[in-house]
Symmetry: C4
Subunit: 201 residues, 4 copies
């Protein structure tokens, strides 16, 4: 099975999910100061920016990873579907996070944990695709493609470890989750290796 339509469908889901994030930026309806009303909504803007960049990074990685895939087998189709489900959930978990970010107490901790869990799920989905492709060189373009077990395992550890730690921190501070997830996103943008690692062969 060729990957052209898998990529087209995935691009479509990424594009719709990343654009639906804007629906959570509601327009104030009151007659008071517009600046104050928008400033009060800073959690929505911060969460929007964070989720937009995170989906963007996952898309770039998806792009790079599937660039080395020659054909998709059935498990890969369904692993990819699982990854896309985690992407589709993000507008919801982002909205939840933004809504409770500054309420404090249990509500903000749980919302932050669910948001972190949503990102962790996305990382797990991507890493599952990465591992499956890594372990099945016959799906890849390179004629002499080799299984990439150890590298994949290490990558599993780092990315998923970071997201898991932040998930734990959510129960201490929702604001810390916002800052740390932002730092993770910046790291992925800045560090060349983090992305080129998705290049198999």
């Amino acid at each position: 099975m060729k990957t052209a339509r898998l990529e087209a469908f995935s691009d479509g889901v990424f594009a719709v999910a990343i654009t639906l994030l804007v629906l959570d930026l509601g327009v104030p309806t009151g007659s008071g100061s517009l600046i104050t009303a928008l400033a009060d909504r800073w959690p929505s803007f911060a969460a929007f920016a964070l989720s937009f960049v995170t989906i963007g990074i996952i898309w770039v990685n998806h792009h790079v990873l599937f660039g080395s895939v020659r054909r998709a087998d059935r498990p890969l189709l369904f692993i990819n579907l699982g990854l896309l489900m985690s992407v589709v959930l993000l507008p919801f978990s982002t909205s939840l996070f933004a809504r409770y970010l500054v309420t404090g107490g249990d509500q903000s901790h749980i919302a932050a944990a669910l948001f972190s869990g949503s990102l962790l799920l996305m990382a797990l989905g991507f890493n599952a695709a990465y591992a499956w492709i890594g372990w099945h060189p016959e799906l890849r373009r390179g004629e002499n493609a080799q299984p990439t077990t150890v590298r994949a395992l290490v990558r599993f550890g780092v990315g998923i470890g970071a997201y898991s730690v932040i998930l734990g921190i959510a129960f201490v501070s929702a604001l810390a989750v916002l800052i740390l997830q932002g730092l993770v996103a910046v790291y992925y943008i800045v560090d060349r290796a983090a992305i080129s690692a998705a290049e198999l062969d």
Copy 2:
């Protein structure tokens, strides 16, 4: 008429419909326990997961089926449009199902029946495309493509039969519909033959 744009348009509709499902996962607005509020909404999450996976399976099958099509004639374009209409209706029927799943009584039965009917419609649409392509080997890639009447008829019977039975069960229990549709989805993911059956030639 080549199938590239038919596939691109279909991929777009599948991608938008599967992503719009998330809009039904509303964020709680109350100030009580967030966990309780989300737990109370479990029908929305269950229906979301079920419909996401079902659209995903139909997309995979669509992908496989049209992989063997060389050119689309006018009836196939409109059969495909009918299939896409059933896909587009799914966010609505999913939302309806989730809203009334636990209310019990007539309302939940009717909502479950309409949801099952929506999935049945999708199965009918896909099978119509399958049968049309099966009966018109001149549309297919294979030079020696043969009509696949009997196989197509049998397939018609199995898939549509299952969805029809579940539609009947809706009038007994909405919850049973959720469980049975989930089992059907798992079956389609696990059983290799269920999908490779969509491969013509």
Copy 3:
């Protein structure tokens, strides 16, 4: 300028607009009979079906028409953009039509006229693209492509004439608009010539 991205972008807009139509099918929230509540909403379902099929037909025609285009010049890009704007407006005018279809009186007439005007706009957009391509054989694939002035003019007359007449009828009866637009849609699906006329060369 090649037409691959013009087609991809157009397919995206068609796919999103046709899928957004579902957002107007709201789920009833009352605790009364669900069947009655849904039956009361029949205008939404009828308008949904009509607009879905109409966008689908325009997409099929767009597919056929641009299949004969080799390269797009700047005016064609902007004519296509105008056509897409009329497509994007359709979820709004459909919703408006469904909301006022059965209220009777001036409101229903104006809503029906705006809906008809929205479809007329789409027809004008498509015919403008058709005429531009017809009058500029250098944009087409065929080496001996000839301008198709007369045919284009006739086509202009028929399609736009029908939509204009229905627009006039809107001021008499909104229901008549629903029925007549449905008949126009059925005609376009059934009549082979109506679509193959979009094939230039």
Copy 4:
């Protein structure tokens, strides 16, 4: 890294964002005169048309610009992501602008300034992509591609200058912003050079 998927993903985001603009055209719910109710909403229609055309122009330019790109490097991927973020923000800033356009006073000034800022951001994003591609001939198709520094700098000045001036005018009159942005859009549609300037090589 080839640009096919970058273009497909960008097309998807452009298509979804341009179509989501329609969601801000709410259907009146009152029982009074429909014409009056719709006429009262003219700011929504005007802002819709303006943003639709502006996204359309940016898409045409994106199309032309990336037509000369052979491969995308990592910075270009992220510059493009930034441009797409400004596109995704537009349905929000358009809605904000339409909501406060006729309220007068500070609110309308701030809303108009944010809308202008949103368009300025889009211009900055596009020009950043233009400059990056201009300064890196190795990313381009042409074998003898040359850096295009001066031209790019001038272009930077003109487009961004215009949007900046309009941003300043927002604090005087929101209506003037609507008219001036409309004139800028018309200029980009009519002036051949404005677009062909995006053609590198």
